[in-house]
Amino acid sequence: MTLLETENVSKVFGGLTALDRVAIAVEEGKIVSLIGPNGAGKTTFFNCVTGVYAPDRGRITFRARPMIGRAPHEITRQGIARTFQSIRLFAEMTALENVMVGAHAQSRAGILGALLRSGWVLEEERTLASKAFQLLEFVGLTDRAEVWARHLSYGEQRRLEIARALASDPVLLLLDEPAAGMNPRETEDLMRLIRRIREQGVTILLIEHDMKVVMGISDRVVVLNHGEKIAEGSPVEIQRDPRVIEAYLGTT
């Protein structure tokens, strides 16, 4: 089943066409990679899907529902979560609190309840904390739960971002260059983590420059160049595609 489908999505900034009629379909349960040279429009595409930007043209549907025009928090509540290329944690909150905030879309205690701190709210806070703790365990950060996010190492911050995104119980997880700045061992761990997330039933759309990661875990690869989709296929097909080689290496 197609989970996320975009048709004809275009976004222009001033005179620069960041996205040009992009059509991408992400099947449920797959790991799909979005690759392309710098400035190809990959992050802009993520921003359009998550409601940060409104595309100038085109349609985005998620689980057959139109997504364009919805606020970011509404899209998150529909089941799309993301991480960022430049890490954007809540620096002055603990790792555990970051994940608990990530679960915000899920918890339902109203304003009055939170203000009055009824027993039910306390109960919910406890459930939330234990769920957040499980997610920290899932990404291997249990011993860092009470540390401020800004005091975590780079690799730990990346994993915390993933845990926070997972806290919203997403159906689709968008990862923006999760391996950036990681050493080979951390990258291996990350690939294992991404596979484990998929095993939990979460579909993954991934922007990545590390070709070892892309070719190692993707079911499908989509290539953007200058805002246009120039190729799509299995990792093997993409590696042989002359247009892709040209986009990356230039014509000879």
Binding site: P72, R77, A81, M100, G102, S107, I111, L115, R164
Partner: protein, 300 residues
Amino acid sequence: MLLQQIVNGLALGAVYALIALGYTMVYGVLELINFAHGEIYMIGAYLGILLLTFFTAVGLTQHHLVLSLFLVFVGAALYCAGYGLTLERVAYRPLRHANRLSPLISAIGMSIFLQNYVMLAQGSTDKVFPHLLPSEPVAVLGVPISLLQIFIILTSIFLMIGLSLFVKKTRLGKAMRATAQDKRMAGLVGIDINKVIAITFVIGSILASAAGVMVAIYYGLVNFFIGYVAGIKAFTAAVLGGIGNIPGAMAGGFILGLVESLGAGYLSSEYKDVFAFLILIVVLILRPSGLLGEKASEKV
């Protein structure tokens, strides 16, 4: 004399701290100085006097003092929360993405509007009300302190502890801190930013209303202009503690109250405002981000 001035300073500081919290919390989530916040406090004080007068007229305060005080606090809190909510909706939300100066001017405009509106509605003369609680000091462990001062200090501390627990422990409190740190990211993790901002105004207004009611009971007197001076003082307290920082606003309020009270007692009561602002200037020169502020605030 010294202990007496310290007690006076703590009571005064508690009021400053409660109002300062509203400034600092709104600054935290919006990076906006809500200059109309002092008027919310003034409206709270008016409501305190009006409700007390009403409860006395119907004979409630004579028989059930605690109940009537409670009702006065709740009534003022609800009324001021409504004002805070409306203020945000009408004066600030439409300007959320406008140039930085526009909401500031809107804030000053709302402040002038509310002052004049209250003056027209309630008259420009002082409204007075007889003292409800004995204001003569009694000696507690050798310290001369009035029942009213104990009441003000304890109520303020109770509210501040409540606020700290709320911000630290609850889901909404975490959402508020997340919004203050990174608004766009907060939206992306599913937080409804507009709701968080509205609630921030509501909480700030409730705290200011409590301060207003207590001052009304303390002095037994209000006029339409009290929000201006108190607002400036509380804003000073917030900057002193580090604007955007909640414990900072509390500390700033108490420090300011103590400085004023000690300055008035030992040097000259006519210059007490000068001491307050002198402290502010010294802190801003030595520590521009305030006593507890971490980030240098480029936005003030």
